[in-house]
Point group: C5
Chain length 154, copies 5
């Protein structure tokens, strides 16, 4: 099984390496293919090429989004295109993004980025190994990536 990772030179944290480490742990027999692009708007076509030209069964993408309204609008555009990639291929593409306005502290952004990349790499592995049943025990459990779990409301 081939699995893809797309990351950017715009990002300020090397989330691709973290995702690769986790995917190798969780899917020891998978071939991991990486693709680095300048920014988030370059990610979707890279993800599509990994699936269609390289044969990846799933992809994780790691975007970094600035603080301005323009950056947020670019986020909408890139994420919408990642939906199109998924819907034209029927493959999961986990669209991970870190937004600079999530914290004013660089150290916290670093922590969020690594934690989110790691947990979503694990989510992708579960979806690839077990399909729609794999995460079923956690449905409605208020899981979070990059932050502590919110937990279920009871």
């Amino acid at each position: 099984m081939k699995v893809g990772i797309v990351d950017t030179t715009f990002a300020r944290v090397d989330m691709g390496a973290e995702a690769e480490r986790v995917l190798k742990e969780e899917l020891p027999n998978a071939i991991i293919i990486r693709y680095t692009v300048p920014g988030i708007k370059d990610i979707p076509v890279a993800a599509k090429k990994l699936i269609e030209e390289e044969g990846c069964e799933g992809v994780i993408t790691l975007g970094w989004v600035g603080k301005t309204l323009t950056d947020k609008f670019s986020y909408i555009v890139a994420s919408m295109a990642l939906q199109l990639v998924q819907l034209t291929t029927n493959k999961h593409v986990i669209d991970v993004t870190i937004h600079e306005d999530e914290s004013g502290e660089e150290s916290e952004l670093l922590r969020i980025a690594l934690d989110r990349a790691r947990k979503h790499a694990r989510n992708l592995a579960i979806l690839l190994l077990k399909g729609g049943e794999g995460l079923r025990p956690y449905a409605g459990k208020g899981l979070r990536q990059g932050r502590p779990d919110a937990g279920p409301i009871e």
Copy 2:
């Protein structure tokens, strides 16, 4: 007849179980297929796979949306993709979402979530059993899900 339910691990209420209970009541002969994903942006491809790969005649999706502007933008993206799923398959996918800014009280969010999941599961069952005529008696009646009906203006 097969019917699909997609829910998330991000949600803080187990709406999938509630929707499943109602669908089993309303469509006792249907086979219910569930699919759990991490968050709302992972829902559309799951819904499409339930229709195209599992043969579901309709799907209900149960999303949970955070409070930030980024979360709202992710909502646009996920909902737009659910439109594409419907338009490429000509099947109804009822796109249920709970937004954390709907209430500051966890207990009220819980109540909204369960009521909305329940009523929309019933809506899906009616659409599947009776088509576009099934809800006709309620056209313009100001029905609400998750809240009391607004009622018609007369």
Copy 3:
């Protein structure tokens, strides 16, 4: 000729009945097919099914949009999907919506809703009967639906 009407149970005014009345007046030989769905995000696939499965030559859809930003975003999503329905079928779908923030008075919302449904049903009839030439005498005339005409600037 078949013509479709899609309305919702969320709406607080029975615009579908009003549109049907006008279409029967304007197109006495047409067969009117109605389809009622829960809310605006369920409208596009219903419109598409009316065209592709029922053979409608045109459709009018009657949506009702709440006041919150989330409702506005749902409006973008539903309207964008109605564009896709039109572009995949090359048929007009008149996308009528009433927004709750158009007036604080229920009586005025009622008046707006009925007037808009009526005038747009007439617009649809003209487009179906006379094509792109039918409304030509009114080009640039500042016509409004739901409100008094703004009129041309001269």
Copy 4:
């Protein structure tokens, strides 16, 4: 060569006539086909029909956008759909819009509308006659339609 013009009854200025006048001047041998619709959300399918059913080589569309946030969102929807028309036909559709918030003065709105329709009709004629090279001498020159040119920064 056939060229299309789509305008609306919502617009308060007869931009279609102005565009037609310029296109006839610039492309004396072209056949101009007009199509009038109620509002901006009805424009894209009309433009597509002009290209696919009438054989137009290019189209200019003339929209008028109200002041509210809902109007702006309808603008996004209509403009996005005009992109889809262009991308499915590989033809230019010049998407001209006047926004009511561009001026509080009706006389200025009139002036903006006519100037913009006129200059963009000329742009369309150049693209149709000379392709991607025709506007090359003006690349980066800060041209404006509806307002005085901003000019290049040097």
Copy 5:
């Protein structure tokens, strides 16, 4: 190899010339094809034509975006369409934009525009020459175009 450049007459800086200069340096054997359009909403179909009709392997587009909310919404529309161009062709289209609100100083806008065009032309050349591996050494390094690099967080 053919490479495309799309620029606009709306832009106030001749970014196309700058991009062409860099592409010729980086890809001395490539044929550069230019296409000038009025504004950003005319860019996507031009980029698609360069790929599908001229055989370009990649394209860089150079947009200029005004300060108003309407301009920002046009940016969303144009950028989303550029995603569609990429996803229907599986080719990279580097979507470069300068936003007038990035600086109040014309001289700074000039500097940003030229730097961004130059660096992204280089990014395109690397992607075309070396694929997804070419930018790998810079993944997560916080590179910026138009501004000094933000650098990695460590």
